[in-house]
């Protein structure tokens, strides 16, 4: 069974996103452990990219801060290897196609396997371009997480049929970032997914508060939160692990009762 599946065995899943190296890799390691201890079911680790076109200002800021302190793909692989000595929950990378492409698809995926990365999310690699890395990701057992958006419509079934790991449902139009309201009919997207695959689906983009996460988890398999966590890290810097831990605890409690 896919390791990613295990993230969805403890009730509805809570999935935090953390940019590696913001404000530095030492702090990121502590934040990841705090989140895991607080009940995070899977963690998305962002490899920073200079021009993250799917991100709003908050995560763009994290990318810039991480790159400014000299974080690189190689350093992040070493960091994950170190994390994996005690962090057991599934870990997936979230980055942009050029980061993988420039490292070399095969070399990147083989290092994912060695270091213990279970999957990868590339927001600028739609269904039509999956073949760019799908052979090598399969070869090394790194699951490529597909995204389905409110605008996917008739594409949702096609994407779901071919999906692996979990499906990332994009809650709203636009880029990442906290939203006060999510108006998309997510149940309808989930229904299409259910008709085409039995792999789990989690919802991200715009979620920040426990009541939102609970509502979302009620109609899907879990909630993904990025910008709200990055804001905590931005605010507390090296002291952020404690605050992220508390936040994750609150959010996991909210989704598990959904």
């Amino acid at each position: 069974m896919s390791n990613i599946r295990k993230a969805f065995e403890n009730g509805k899943a809570f999935i935090p996103f953390i940019t590696c190296g913001d404000p530095d890799l030492e702090t990121t390691a502590k934040v990841v452990r705090a989140a895991a201890d607080a009940g995070a079911d899977l963690i998305e680790l962002g490899i920073p990219f200079s021009d993250p076109t799917a991100e709003g200002p908050v995560i763009q800021g994290a990318n810039i801060r991480a790159l400014a302190v000299g974080v690189t793909t190689d350093k992040i692989f070493d960091f994950v290897t170190e994390l994996r000595r005690d962090v057991k929950i599934p870990l997936v990378f979230m980055t942009y196609a050029n980061v993988v492409f420039s490292y070399g698809g095969e070399r990147f995926m083989s290092r994912c396997k060695e270091s213990g990365i279970d999957g990868i999310i590339l927001p600028d690699l739609p269904y039509e371009e999956k073949d760019e890395f799908s052979d090598v990701s399969k070869k090394y057992g790194v699951e490529m997480i597909s995204l389905i958006a409110p605008t996917s419509e008739d594409r949702a079934a096609m994407i779901a049929k071919d999906a692996e790991g979990f499906i990332y449902i994009v809650s709203s139009l636009g880029v990442t970032g906290v939203r006060s309201e999510i108006n998309t009919d997510i149940s309808r997207i989930v229904k299409v997914i259910r008709e085409n695959t039995d792999i789990p689906c989690a919802v991200g983009f715009g979620i920040s508060e426990p009541r939102q996460a609970q509502k979302i988890a009620g109609i899907s398999d879990g909630a993904i939160v990025g910008s709200a966590i990055i804001k905590i890290i931005e605010q507390y810097g090296k002291d952020s692990p404690y605050y992220v831990g508390e936040y994750v605890r609150l959010m996991k409690e909210a989704v598990i009762t959904a």
């Binding site: 021009d51 076109t53 799917a54 420039s102 605008t151 594409r155 139009l173 636009g174």
Partner: protein, 395 residues
């Protein structure tokens, strides 16, 4: 599923899922209208009656004599309405968007030429328009910001990243994912995800369609070389396109080398970049060893982009076109030289092409022919060039 819009290994559609249906819809609409007689009649009418096409192919006799080599013709895209080749693509896309029922155009701009052209088409066709422009460029090209506002557009200064053209493209893409149903992203160059590189090329190909006929009329033969500047590459692909099958015609793209290709302050993508995936396409990009996009530099805001259109990457790969670096200094010299010799002030972007022609022409025999595309007029650059020369002039 097979990836679409490939030029050799380049091109493709590397964009967020949120945009895929919009892109597919655009492709379908373009396929429907590109050969539609009514659409083409309307577009031709806009070209001829509004934009002032066909543009002149001007024999630069004085320039030819001064340089003492090949006969030089200038393809005068600077004489188009709004002052550059950008209007060709914009009228095509705006008309297409209107047919698709869109009521709002968004665009990125570097030097402001594409922004002004888009604002113009929006005014003419009664559409809303929002232009994203790097904050750095809003300072370099303050007059164009005012022109866009005068034309009824909103101009949003982009402060992220290097606050230049690439960041304006990123921000326009982000805006499009926020608001798709009524909005068309009027991309300004032969770049981005399929079908943009093809659509923009087809609308710009009028440059070489005209120049090919004009040179045949004037000289009874094809030119030996066609020279154009390359940022994303829209005027260059337009200038090259109808000569691609004529293998004896040298196609030369002039990249902005900034302070030189052996420095970090350059935007010469083909000469210094490597293959990558960014802004929806696979092509050559200036980037570091981990694929982080490099901050690029050129005196020209319009060439200050870290990538190049996928068809240019392909023409480079197969050796059909050459891509040569031209420095700030060379471009500024050419800007001044053409102004003095021919009484034509070229855009600083186009001055890159002139600069290379100044090197090439004297090495060629007098019976050879060069066509240089003057992609835009240089009025917008006068203050910046004066400052480059140490004069304290502001617009």
């Amino acid at each position: 599923m097979k990836s679409k819009g490939r030029f050799g290994v380049h091109g493709g559609q590397y964009i967020p899922e949120t945009l895929m249906n919009a892109i597919n819809e655009l492709e379908k609409a373009y396929d429907r209208y590109k050969n539609d007689p009514e659409f083409n009649r309307e577009l031709t009418q806009l070209f001829n009656e509004y934009a002032g096409r066909p543009s002149l192919l001007y024999y630069a006799e004085k320039l030819t004599k001064e340089l003492g080599g090949a006969k030089i013709y200038l393809k005068r895209e600077d004489l188009n309405h709004t002052g550059s080749h950008k209007i060709n693509n914009v009228l095509g896309q705006a008309l297409l968007a209107k047919k698709m029922g869109k009521t709002r155009l968004i665009a990125e701009t570097g030097a402001g030429q594409h922004g002004v052209a888009t604002a113009t088409a929006a005014a003419l066709l009664g559409m809303e328009c929002v232009v994203f422009m790097g904050e750095e460029d809003t300072k370099r090209q303050a007059l164009n910001v005012y022109r866009m506002k005068l034309l009824g557009s909103e101009v949003i200064p982009v402060t992220t990243g290097t606050a230049t053209l690439k960041d304006a493209v990123s921000e326009a893409m982000r805006e499009w994912t926020k608001r798709i149903s009524d909005t068309h992203y009027c991309l300004g160059s032969v770049m981005g995800p399929h079908p943009f590189p093809t659509i923009v090329r087809d609308f710009q190909a009028i440059i070489s369609r005209e120049s090919r006929q004009q040179i045949l009329d004037k000289e009874g033969r094809l030119p030996d070389a066609v020279i154009a500047c390359v940022g994303g590459g829209s005027n260059a692909i337009g200038s090259f396109y109808h000569y691609i099958p004529d293998e004896k015609v040298r196609l030369i793209g002039c990249e902005a080398a900034g302070r030189g290709i052996d420095t970090f302050e350059t935007a010469a993508t083909v000469n210094t970049g490597k293959i990558g995936i960014f802004h929806g396409m696979k092509s050559y990009f200036c980037q570091d060893e981990y694929g982080q996009i490099a901050p690029v530099y050129s005196i020209s805001a319009g060439l200050d982009y870290p990538g190049v259109g996928p068809e240019h990457a392909y023409l480079h790969d197969i050796g059909r076109a050459e891509y040569v670096p031209v420095t700030d200094d060379e471009a500024v010299n050419a800007f001044e030289y053409l102004s003095r010799v021919e009484g034509i002030i070229p855009a600083i972007e186009s001055a890159h092409a002139v600069a290379y022609a100044m090197k090439l022409a004297p090495t060629m025999d007098k019976d050879k022919i060069i066509i240089i595309t003057i992609s835009g007029r240089g009025d917008k650059d006068c203050a910046a060039i004066a400052r480059y020369r140490g004069e304290d002039i502001y617009e």
